[in-house]
Point group: C2
Chain length 255, copies 2
Amino acid sequence: MEKLTIIKVGGKIVEEEGSLQRLLTDFSAIPGKKLLVHGGGRSATRLAEQLGIESRMVNGRRITDAETLRVVTMVYGGLVNKNIVAGLQARDVNALGLTGADMNVIRSHKRLVKEIDYGFVGDVDEVNATFLAKLIHEDIVPVMAPLTHDKQGHLLNTNADTIAGETAKALAALFDVTLIFCFEKKGVLRDEHDDDSVIPHLSRADFDTLVSDGTIQGGMIPKLENAFSALQAGVKKVIITQATAIDGQHGTIIS
Amino acid sequence: MEKLTIIKVGGKIVEEEGSLQRLLTDFSAIPGKKLLVHGGGRSATRLAEQLGIESRMVNGRRITDAETLRVVTMVYGGLVNKNIVAGLQARDVNALGLTGADMNVIRSHKRLVKEIDYGFVGDVDEVNATFLAKLIHEDIVPVMAPLTHDKQGHLLNTNADTIAGETAKALAALFDVTLIFCFEKKGVLRDEHDDDSVIPHLSRADFDTLVSDGTIQGGMIPKLENAFSALQAGVKKVIITQATAIDGQHGTIIS
C-alpha cells in the first residue's frame, strides 16, 4: 500500500506567522501523499473576545453556542484554513481546504447532552474515505479544518485531534498511514520537567506501566489512548512530536 | 456538450436565513451540472464594524487593507461559504466550497495601484478549467467564495461577479454554459420605477440603443458589458434575474 502521512497541528503553530511559515515549508518537504489537520482555538478565542463573546471551556473543550459556532466557522473554515492553503500553494503543494461539510467528507451528530451541554459540537459518525482517497491519489493535499456537519444543514465544531484520528482510521484500509500529532513538547516525556527526556518508543504495555507508576498523567493519557485506538484500527504508526520535527524521525513513536 | 448552470448570488440573499434557505432549495432543483458563486459583503461590513475596522468602498469596490482581508477571508471563505455548503449537503447536493487558492482554482495578481490603491484585491489571471471540469463531471458542485490567490501565499479579495464571469468563460470550452446573475430587480428594466418592465431579451444592438437613449444607465452598464464579454468568450446564455427566479425562464436573457 502507498504511504500516507497525516499531520495534526494545533492552533499555536498555525496562528503565528513565523511558526506557520516554517511548518508549511517542513510539511511541503514530506515526500509522498499527505494530509494536514489544523486547529485554531487561540484565534477563535481572540476573535470571540473582540466580539464580546465569552469563551467557555470544559475539560479543554469549547462550549459552542450559536455565536461561538459562527466564530469558529469563520476562524477555522476561513482564516486559518485558507491561509494554510494559500501558503501551501505557494510551495507547489496542491492543497484543498475542507471542512467535514465539503463533499460530505465527515458526517457527525450533535453531541448528546449528559452532564454538560457542549452545544454545537459534533461527534464523528463517518469519514468518507473513498472520496478522500480519490483526491489524495490525484496528488491533492487535503487541509482539514476542525468542523464537521450533520448532513442536515448544521456545521458542528469538532476537535482537531479527533478529526485526525478518525481520518487516519478511515484511510488505514487504503493507505499505509503514519499519523503525527504535533505537541508543544518534543514527545512523550519520562520527566515532565526535562524536555529532553523523550521516550523514543512506546508500546501499549509500556503505556500501561507508565500510567500505573504515574510517569504518564493528565492530558497525555487521552492523547495516547487516541493513538492506541488508531493503531488498533489499522493505522501503521503514530508519532507524538513537536511541530518543528515532523519528518517522522523525531518524537515518541507509538506502535 | 453537457449543460452547466453557473449562478452568482450577492450578499443579501445568502446572508439572511430565510432567503438563503429558499435559494438553496431553488438551486438544488436546477437539473444537471451546476456551480454557485456567492458574495457576502454585508456580513463582511458588519463584522468589520464590530471589530472597529472601517469599511471603505470606492466605485462599489471594497478597499482591502490587511485587516479587511482577514475579515473577508473569515466571512467569505468561512462563514458564508461553509453555511451554503452545509445547506446544500442537507439537500443532497454534493457541494464543495472553494476559494481560488484551493487546488489553485483561480490565480490572480494584486491590482496595480493607479489612481486608487484597492489594497489586497486580485485581478484574475487564470481559472483552472480542467480541474473544475473534473470535479463537475464527478457530480461535485463547486461553491465559490470571492477570494483568489497569487500563488505566492497571498489571498486576494475578488469581486464575485468577476469570479462568476471568468469561471463561465473558462468553462465555456468544456460545457454549454448558462450564466445567471442574481440581482435585486426582476431583470433589466425598461423603466427603473416599474419593477414589471423587464426586458425579456437583450442583444448587443438593443443594449447599444438603450444605453444611448438613456434607458440603461449606472451600475447596470458594467454588469451588461460583463455579460456581453462572457457571451463573446463562448458562454451560451447570460441571464439577469432575481434570486427567487433562477430556473432559467425568468429575467432578462442576454444573447
